[in-house]
């Protein structure tokens, strides 16, 4: 039961102290906007339009705070300023700019159709052809399957064209259809309510047919129910933890030869030459056949049923060589298994450069044979963060070599690694190559509808149109800078990067060092959550009731009222231990075994001690036949019953 004690969860929007900057507004831009307001007040229309034109020209790549903490492209702001003009202003605008808009409209055919229509919508929406152009642009996007862009184009008519002759009901139904196709049910419900209240008895023309507005909305609503049912059914089944602690197989990272410390197989040193605690992350992944680990650039695959080493990519002495390097960044290594391939982010284990570039290498999961590597095709880039693979395209964060502050998003052909597009996102406040005592920030990605969402883990969350590489909007959130340089006795919590995720239609994000959990309604966008949570908390997932955070404790926050429902302290675990969320349970690998926690109330149900008793925790994977734990000590597999759970996609 949620506590009724006094607390505040209201969304406050003081300027957040982020440690990431987008190309945002300048003082010059702010002055120009003030000048525009003055001109409008004095009805000096020509001068006012010239000011807006200058703003558009100067700041095509810049973002401006809309006033509620959301950064939007300046173009969008200019469009809304146009729409907010008084009737005289709009009349004057048409007098000045209708000829230009009409020329674009008349030549909007063939290859130029999309370009010209976009130009009218972005620059001349309040012209006499603006609404028609937006309507046609929405149709074009819809036909191409770009539903969010289609909804945005039609939304522009509803929001910014008060004089439009296009029936409102028709525009709203089109918006609802696009939103339903894109899966934005929250915004869909808002449109649905508007149609129900204002246009229920009207008819609309869709696809050459005349339909009742209410009927069309009802049909879309039914599809929403189907999707919601399907989503809830898709929750991962709970795992029946083994009753026998005896593993089916185990692999110890500690070599039997030259054994130096039984519980510390990796003798890492810090920048002062002191041994480091054996608590750094071991990147691991699993599919139905094998478990994969990446040890400082040497990848290994183990057969899930027997534990036999299927393949490895390097000589084992190279691991020792990399361990001996000072300033190694274990958190920057990553591994993921996807459709018969293993995607690895790591450094060449042969190289000894203190700031050697991280590469993206794709291996054949069965043989370990290299399919492609960014070392050859993208030599000037150092990869930052794990990739997101979607259909035939891979998205991954990267920095140009020697430019440790910048963050770009590389769009690659998933088949051969060829670069399709580079999207510049912005700059970190601190060079990520000079973060030694803290963990460095790495971008994480999520996909929804036709949009890519990127959390920089340094105070900025952005929505990106992957088709054209544009940033739709960004939200800054509070995120302290990491500690740059060395400090002899300073050993902070090694935060990990998770999320963003979608919960109850909101995009939820928790930056790795941020004391805030933010939730954004992407339709708008609008900041709905900006709630204090522990700095060390990480996003685990959500269901229809709560959003769950891990870290030094497990917590559940009510999606409806944002209150902390329960908090469960578990035995100590390595900072990189990441719990597994299922339909009714949360499992976390800790120093005292795998804890099974009831999602409903946070009650600790049981602890499966297992066989890896020296471990401080780590990652866990559930496959149809096995439960696998990976710790700094080794890999341990336990057999699951015949009715094993489906792969949870951990």
């Amino acid at each position: 039961m949620a506590a009724d004690w006094a607390f505040t969860t209201s969304v406050s929007r003081e300027t957040p102290k982020a440690s990431f900057s987008l190309s945002s507004q300048t003082a010059e831009l702010r002055d120009s906007l003030d000048q525009f307001q003055r001109m409008v007040k004095h009805e000096q229309w020509e001068a006012a339009f010239d000011t807006l034109k200058e703003i558009s020209k100067k700041s095509t790549q810049r973002y401006i705070d809309r006033g509620d903490g959301v950064l939007i492209p300046t173009q969008d702001l200019v469009r809304s300023l146009h729409a907010d003009l008084p009737a005289e202003g709009r009349k004057a605008y048409r007098l000045f700019y209708d000829p230009q808009a009409t020329t674009l409209w008349e030549s909007a055919t063939g290859a130029k159709e999309l370009e010209n229509l976009s130009a009218i919508v972005s620059q001349h929406l309040i012209s006499s052809v603006g609404d028609a152009a937006a309507d046609r642009l929405g149709d074009l996007y819809f036909e191409r399957g770009e539903f969010e862009n289609a909804a945005a184009a039609w939304q522009a008519i509803a929001d910014d064209c008060p004089d439009s002759t296009i029936p409102k009901a028709q525009t709203l139904v089109k918006i609802a259809t696009a939103l339903a196709r894109a899966g934005h049910w929250n915004q869909f419900r808002q449109v649905e309510a508007r149609v129900d209240e204002e246009h229920r008895d009207e008819t609309v023309e869709i696809g050459g047919s005349t339909l009742a507005a209410a009927g069309q909305i009802d049909r879309l609503r039914e599809s929403a129910r189907e999707v919601e049912t399907a989503t809830s059914d898709a929750a991962v089944e709970d795992v029946a933890l083994p009753t026998d602690a005896e593993p089916s197989w185990r692999f110890s990272f500690q070599s039997t030869l030259g054994k130096r410390a039984a519980s510390n197989p990796f003798q890492l040193t810090d920048v002062y030459g002191r041994p480091r605690a054996n608590t750094f992350p071991i990147p691991a992944a699993a599919d139905d056949q094998r478990v994969y680990v990446c040890l400082f650039g040497v990848e290994m695959a183990f057969d899930l049923s027997t534990g036999k080493l299927a393949w490895r990519t390097g000589k084992l002495h190279l691991i020792n060589f990399q361990q001996a390097r000072q300033g190694i960044n274990p958190e920057r290594y990553a591994i993921a298994a996807h459709e018969g391939r293993v995607w690895v982010v790591g450094r060449d284990p042969d190289q000894a450069n203190q700031r050697g570039a991280f590469r993206l290498t794709v291996l054949d999961a069965a043989t370990g044979k290299e399919i492609f590597s960014s070392e050859r095709s993208l030599g000037s880039w150092s990869i930052l963060g794990a990739p997101l693979i979607r259909r035939d395209t891979a998205y991954v964060g990267a920095q140009r070599h020697g430019k440790g502050r910048e963050l770009s998003l590389l769009v690659l052909d998933a088949a051969d690694g060829k670069l399709k597009k580079t999207i510049d996102v912005g700059d970190y406040a601190v060079d990520q190559n000079q973060v030694y005592v803290d963990a460095c920030a790495q971008p994480t990605l999520a996909w929804r509808g036709d949009r890519l969402y990127l959390d920089t883990h340094a105070g900025a969350l952005a929505s990106i149109d992957p088709e054209n590489g544009d940033l739709d909007w960004a939200v800054l959130y509070e995120s302290p800078s990491p500690t740059a340089g060395h400090h002899y006795n300073y050993q902070p919590h090694q935060s990990t990067c998770t999320g963003p995720i979608f919960a109850d239609g909101l995009l939820m994000a928790k930056g790795m060092r941020s004391p805030r959990l933010v939730g954004i309604s992407v339709d708008g966008p609008q900041l709905v959550w900006n709630r204090p949570v522990a700095n060390s908390a990480v996003l685990l997932g959500a269901d229809d009731q709560c959003v769950y955070l891990g870290g030094e404790e497990l917590t559940a926050y009510d999606l409806e009222n944002k209150k902390l429902v329960w908090a469960t302290q578990l035995p100590r675990a390595a900072d990189w231990s990441r719990p597994l969320l299922t339909a009714n349970r949360i499992y976390q690998f800790t120093s005292r075994g795998i804890c099974e926690v009831d999602k409903k109330n946070g009650e600790l149900i049981q602890i499966f001690r297992g066989a890896d008793l020296d471990a401080l925790g780590g990652s866990m994977f559930v496959t149809p036949k096995s439960l696998v734990t990976v710790s700094n000590e080794g890999i341990v597999a336990y057999a699951l019953g015949d009715a094993g759970p489906p792969t949870p996609g951990n």
Binding site: A3, Q491, T568, E603
Partner: protein, 291 residues
């Protein structure tokens, strides 16, 4: 001549004054007349209770969150302890407090003299959950240690720390509070009333024996007791007998617990009473004196 007489008198007075003061001081200690001896009464007693201090805390920026975290940590611990079904186990919550706190990172920065990050203030709700395992006298040590181990296991499984919370420890280090320390796991003799009676009897007996010995050796006759001072009485003083971990500060004081003796070791704990007793020397029989 007159001057020299005065000078001699002054010297005599100054010389006698310290002697008188010393004599008076000695009389105050009971050593001027009669025979003064210490008497020690000591019993080796098995502890009858084990106490374990567990720290429970909830730390958050919002007080409401800190309270929820504290509430759930406490209930989880108590539920886990209940499952052990130990009849002789009692729990007592002491020292419930709400205070401003700092994150572990911030504490390290303070200790290292590093620049402070601009962090939001945190609120910590904390208390000490004191576990008392009673009536352990006569229980085999192995069995007792096993039970204590189970209690510590439950605490660790519930994510609860033994002793002070990290924030409290760092605060103690910052303030240089190295004294007045309390063991997080203590073996306690809590039923001191009867035991002290026996120790007193032994101490008096011991004092008389010692005094008799001195009288015999000095060929005088031991007289009546003139004065008795308590030098040490088990359970009346701070009960720490062993040094605790570096920097730990004392948990809150025991509430109405009466006199007690504690130890970190599961051995017989000494219950001592030490007295300073002065006996009179009886005057010699005149007949005996003539002989």
């Amino acid at each position: 001549m007159k001057l020299s007489t005065t000078f001699v008198c002054l010297i005599l007075v100054l010389g006698v004054l310290p002697l008188r003061a010393a004599a008076q001081a000695a009389a105050g200690n009971g050593t001027s007349d009669g025979i003064s001896v210490y008497g020690l009464g000591e019993l080796g007693v098995e502890p009858n209770c084990v106490e374990i201090d567990l720290s429970i805390s909830g730390l958050a920026e919002l007080p409401g969150d800190a309270l929820v975290k504290y509430r759930d940590a406490k209930s989880q611990l108590l539920e886990s302890l209940d499952k052990l079904k130990l009849d002789k186990l009692e729990t007592e919550e002491v020292g419930l407090s709400i205070s401003a706190a700092t994150s572990p990172e911030e504490q390290q920065r303070i200790l290292q003299g590093m620049p402070q990050a601009q962090a939001k203030p945190q609120i910590e709700v904390s208390s000490v959950m004191r576990l008392k395992l009673n009536d352990i006298r006569g229980v085999r040590p192995e069995e007792l240690l096993q039970t204590i181990g189970r209690l510590l296991d439950v605490a660790q499984d519930a994510g609860v720390g033994v002793g002070l919370s990290p924030t409290e420890m760092v605060n103690a280090i910052r303030r240089g509070q190295y004294g007045n320390q309390q063991l997080p796991i203590r073996f306690v003799v809590a039923d001191l009333a009867q035991l002290r009676e026996k120790a007193y009897e032994k101490a008096v007996e011991d004092a008389r024996d010692r005094a008799a010995r001195l009288a015999r050796l000095n060929r005088v006759k031991l007289g009546a007791t003139l004065a008795v001072h308590e030098v040490l009485v088990a359970g009346d003083q701070p009960t720490v007998q062993h040094v605790t971990n570096f920097g730990q500060q004392a948990p809150p004081p025991h509430v109405a617990e009466g006199p007690r003796v504690v130890s970190s070791s599961l051995t017989d704990i000494p219950v001592q009473v030490k007295l300073l007793v002065r006996f009179a020397i009886e005057p010699l029989d005149p007949a005996t004196a003539r002989k």
